[in-house]
C-alpha cells in the first residue's frame, strides 16, 4: 500500500445525492442564459430596437471611431422620457430582432497592444405572439475584428493576422476571420423561453405596473432558494445578485423578448428606480449610435493566479454594466460592460473600454413574417 492508497482510504464514501437534484439541474439548463450568444443557439435571444433609427447603425459600425465612454452629464429623467416614448410604440404580430454580440480580447504583440472583438456572433430571431405559435432563431459566427479604428491600425502593424490566439476564461482559444453560414432552428412554443423560463405567452401577460415588475424581475426568489442548483444558476449564470447583473439581465430581456410597449416602459422605470442603477444621460453605443443610458454601480473583478493563467491576464479591474436606449423609441440600442478602473487584463485600456457588448442592428414589431438578412454586418 502506498501513499496514494492511504489517501484513497482516508476519504469516507459520501452519502448519495438526494433524489431530483440532477433533474432540477437539467430543467435549469433548458432555460436561456443571461447572455444569449448566437453561437450557443439555445432558445431565442436577440435584440431589439425599433424601426428606422436602428437601421442607420450598420453603416456606422465599421470601427471608424474609437469606442467612446458615456458622457456624464446630469442624466436625470432622460431614460424616463424614453420610457414614455416606448409606451406609445405600436405593436404587431411578430417581434423580430437582429443583434451582434462579442467579447473584447487583448492581443499583445511586440508591435503594440490592441483589442479585438471575438466570439462575435450574429443572431436573427422572431417570435409570433399568437398563442402556441412559437418562433425561430438563426445564428452565425462573424469574423473576429479589431474593436476600434485605433485597434485596427495596431492590427495592421502586427501584419494583419487572420487568427487570434487569446486567453478565454481558463484556456487559450483561437478566433479567426471566418464567418459561418446561418444555422436556423425552428423553435416549438414550449422551447421558446426567455429570462427565467418565460414563454412568449407568459410575456404577453406581464403586468405594466412598475412595482410588480420590480418584484418579478429584480427581486429574484431563486436567489433565496435553499437549493444550491437554483441559487447558483441565479448567481453565476444569470448574475442576478449584483446590481450590474440585474441591469444586464433585464437589459437583455428588453433586447430579446417580445415585450409589449407598456411593459417595456414599466421595466425601464423599474430599472431606473433601482438603488445602484443610475441615469447617466447621453451615451454612445459600441456601434457609434447616440442614446440615453442607465449604468450600474461598478464592481471589482480579480483574475487569480491559478495554473496556466498568463501573467498578463492576472490582476484586478473594475467594470460597470450599461444599457443604452434610443431616446425616440425606448428601444435598447446596446448592453455592454464598461471598464471603470483599468487593471488586470485591461491594464493598458482606458476607462470606458467595452469588455463585452450586445448591440441591436434592427428590431421591432411587424405583421409580415420576418426573414434573416443575407449580407454580413460590418461590411
Amino acid at each position: 500500500m502506498d501513499e496514494v492508497q492511504m489517501v484513497r482510504e482516508y476519504y469516507p464514501e459520501p452519502a448519495a445525492a438526494p433524489a431530483g437534484e440532477v433533474g432540477r439541474l437539467k430543467a435549469l439548463l433548458a432555460e436561456p442564459p443571461r447572455r444569449s450568444r448566437p453561437r450557443l443557439g439555445w432558445g431565442l435571444g436577440g435584440l431589439v430596437v425599433v424601426g428606422a433609427a436602428a437601421t442607420v447603425a450598420v453603416t456606422l459600425v465599421g470601427g471608424n471611431t474609437p469606442v467612446p465612454g458615456p458622457v456624464n452629464l446630469n442624466g436625470t429623467g432622460t431614460v424616463l422620457a424614453a420610457a414614455a416614448k416606448a409606451e406609445q410604440q405600436p405593436m404587431g404580430r411578430y417581434w423580430y430582432s437582429r443583434e451582434v454580440a462579442g467579447q473584447s480580447y487583448i492581443m499583445r504583440p511586440k508591435t503594440g497592444t490592441y483589442a479585438v472583438t471575438g466570439a462575435l456572433g450574429e443572431m436573427f430571431s422572431w417570435s409570433d405572439v399568437r398563442p402556441g405559435a412559437g418562433g425561430q432563431v438563426s445564428s452565425r459566427d462573424l469574423p473576429t475584428r479589431p474593436l476600434t479604428e485605433r485597434d485596427a491600425a495596431q492590427w495592421r502593424r502586427a501584419g494583419s493576422p487572420s487568427s487570434f490566439r487569446v486567453w478565454s476564461n481558463d484556456h487559450y482559444t483561437t478566433f479567426t476571420t471566418k464567418a459561418t453560414s446561418w444555422q436556423t432552428g425552428g423553435i416549438a412554443p414550449e422551447n421558446t423561453r426567455f429570462l427565467d423560463g418565460r414563454s412568449v405567452e407568459d410575456i404577453q401577460r406581464l403586468p405594466t405596473d412598475q412595482a410588480k415588475l420590480t418584484e418579478m424581475f429584480l427581486t429574484h426568489p431563486r436567489l433565496k432558494s435553499k437549493d444550491p442548483v437554483q441559487r447558483i444558476w441565479a448567481e453565476k449564470v444569470q448574475r442576478r445578485v449584483t446590481i450590474d447583473g440585474k441591469l444586464a439581465a433585464v437589459g437583455g430581456f428588453l433586447r430579446n423578448a417580445p415585450v409589449q410597449p407598456k411593459v417595456r416602459a414599466g421595466l425601464m422605470r423599474a430599472l431606473a428606480a433601482q438603488p445602484g442603477i443610475h441615469e447617466i444621460g447621453r451615451a454612445t453605443d459600441p456601434l457609434g449610435r447616440a442614446g440615453v443610458a442607465l449604468a450600474s454601480d461598478d464592481r471589482a473583478v480579480t483574475n487569480a493566479d491559478e495554473y496556466g493563467v498568463p501573467k498578463a491576464e492576472l490582476g484586478t479591474y473594475r467594470y460597470r454594466s450599461v444599457v443604452i436606449f434610443d431616446e425616440r423609441t425606448g428601444a435598447v440600442l446596446s448592453s455592454q460592460d464598461e471598464l471603470t478602473k483599468p487593471g488586470g487584463p485591461y491594464a493598458e485600456m482606458k476607462p470606458g473600454f467595452v469588455t463585452y457588448y450586445a448591440a441591436t442592428l434592427k428590431a421591432g414589431w411587424t405583421d409580415a413574417k420576418p426573414q434573416p438578412p443575407a449580407g454580413l454586418p460590418f461590411d
Binding site: 482510504e9 437534484e21 435549469l28 439548463l29 495554473y307
Partner: protein, 185 residues
C-alpha cells in the same frame, strides 16, 4: 472507462449529466465535505454546459474534462477543503479529546495518524493536491490528469512524487497505515 461511448456534450448535455452527475458529486463531497457537494456538482455542470461546444474529444474523455472543471470549482473553495479534511480526521475520535483517553493506545495512535494525514493533504500546495486527488479519488491516469488540469505529462509525475514525499515526511517517514494494518492483522 470502457463500454458505450459517452454522449457528446454539445449534442446531448442531458445525457452527460445523467451519466456523470453522481460521480462528480461524490468527488465534490470528498474534497469539500457533504455540505458543499451539491454546490460543486451544480457549478461544475453549469460551467461545463457553458463550455460544452469547446469540448474536444481528441483531447480526452468527457469524464476527464468534467473532472478538470470540477477540480477548478473545488479550487475556488480553498478553505472548505481544509475543513473537510479536519472533519474526516474526527470521523474517528480525536486523539486529543479527553473523553477518549481511556481508549487503547493503538487505536488512539491510529486516529492521531489520520489527523496528521489530513493535515498533510491540506498543507500540500494546490497543484500537488489536485494531482494527488485526481489520481487517488477519480482514478485518472497520469495522461488524463495532464489533460484535466492542462499541464504536461511530466509535471503530473513530478507533482505526484513531491506530494508523496511530503506525505511520507509528514507522517514521520514511515508508512503508518501499513504498519497499523500489520499490527491489527
Amino acid at each position: 472507462m470502457t463500454g458505450e461511448p459517452s454522449p457528446r456534450p454539445a449534442d446531448d448535455f442531458e445525457g452527460v449529466a445523467d451519466l456523470y452527475f453522481a460521480e462528480i458529486r461524490r468527488y465534490g463531497a470528498k474534497r469539500l465535505g457533504p455540505d458543499a457537494a451539491a454546490d460543486v456538482a451544480a457549478q461544475t455542470f453549469l460551467e461545463a454546459f457553458r463550455q460544452r461546444r469547446r469540448y474536444n474529444p481528441e483531447r480526452g474523455s468527457v469524464r476527464t474534462w468534467l473532472y478538470g472543471i470540477a477540480t477548478k470549482v473545488v479550487g475556488r473553495h480553498h478553505r472548505s477543503e481544509s475543513r473537510a479534511l479536519r472533519m474526516y480526521a474526527r470521523l474517528s475520535p480525536d486523539r486529543d479529546a479527553e473523553e477518549h483517553t481511556e481508549r487503547v493506545d493503538a487505536r488512539v495512535s491510529a486516529e492521531g495518524l489520520r489527523g496528521e494525514l489530513g493535515a498533510a493533504i491540506a498543507a500540500l500546495p494546490r497543484g500537488q493536491r489536485d494531482v494527488l486527488l485526481l489520481v487517488a479519488l477519480a482514478d485518472l491516469s497520469h495522461q488524463e490528469v495532464a489533460t484535466a488540469l492542462g499541464i504536461s505529462y511530466g509535471t503530473v509525475g513530478s507533482r505526484l512524487n513531491r506530494a508523496r514525499t511530503r506525505l511520507r515526511k509528514a507522517l514521520g517517514g514511515t508508512n503508518p497505515m501499513l504498519t497499523l494494518e500489520e499490527q491489527h492483522g
